[in-house]
Amino acid sequence: MTHPELNTPTPPSSTGYFAISSESLNRKALRASLQDVSSGAFVLFEGWVRDHNEGRKVLQLEYEVYEPLAITEGNLILQEARERFAISLAAAVHRQGLLKLTEPAVLVGVSAAHRGAAFDACRYIIDDVKARLPIWKREHYADGTTEWVNCKVKD
């Protein structure tokens, strides 16, 4: 069963959007889409690639995304944030494919009349993006091996 309609990124709505990108993430475009003259606060979260994980040197990072569900679930998280917190606009974009160490893996931006709601909503969104979206990270180590992060049964 295919869902061709889910393979088309949801177009930016009037209250924000969730997107998956194979290109370097564009902070300026994200901020511009959230600009709003009635908002006094803007909070941006950026996920950065760390060069070490559990003692191993990381050279590059790869994200696999199951895009149809990541996009619908991502937009659902944004919708929940707008319902729970008094915010103006919210948007998020997540990388897929190979990333260099200096590139951000995810951006979450929220504008609001007041800062409390902007902080709370931004944190809610990134927490749920990390916990609920079908996105997996594979680290490529200096010793030539790779590993899917956080997948193994804990001993």
């Binding site: 069963m1 869902h3 996920g47 994200y63 997540h94 079908p134 990270k137 956080n150 997948c151």
Partner: protein, 80 residues
């Protein structure tokens, strides 16, 4: 016996060597189906179970499978 399309992602795909397979099973839930699949693909045992989707909708491990569904097994996610 019912028929399912099972899709494997990330570490699961590496463990099974498959992106997708057609499965005959009497499993009544994703939980039962995953347990059966782990017998066929013992390497799955080293990975934790995380989320499951049915026909591109996030679903519960105890959801009812009637047959004909596409079942997506997701290893622990690691976005951000």
């Amino acid at each position: 016996m019912k028929q399912f399309t099972v899709k494997w992602f990330a570490a699961y795909r590496a463990a099974t060597g498959l992106a997708q397979e057609q499965v005959q099973s009497s499993a009544g839930s994703p939980s039962e189906l995953f347990a059966e699949m782990t017998k066929q693909h013992p390497d799955l045992g080293q990975y934790s179970r995380a989320l499951v989707a049915i026909n591109d909708q996030m679903a519960s491990w105890d959801a009812t499978l009637s047959g004909g569904e596409q079942v997506l097994f997701f290893p622990p996610v690691a976005g951000g």
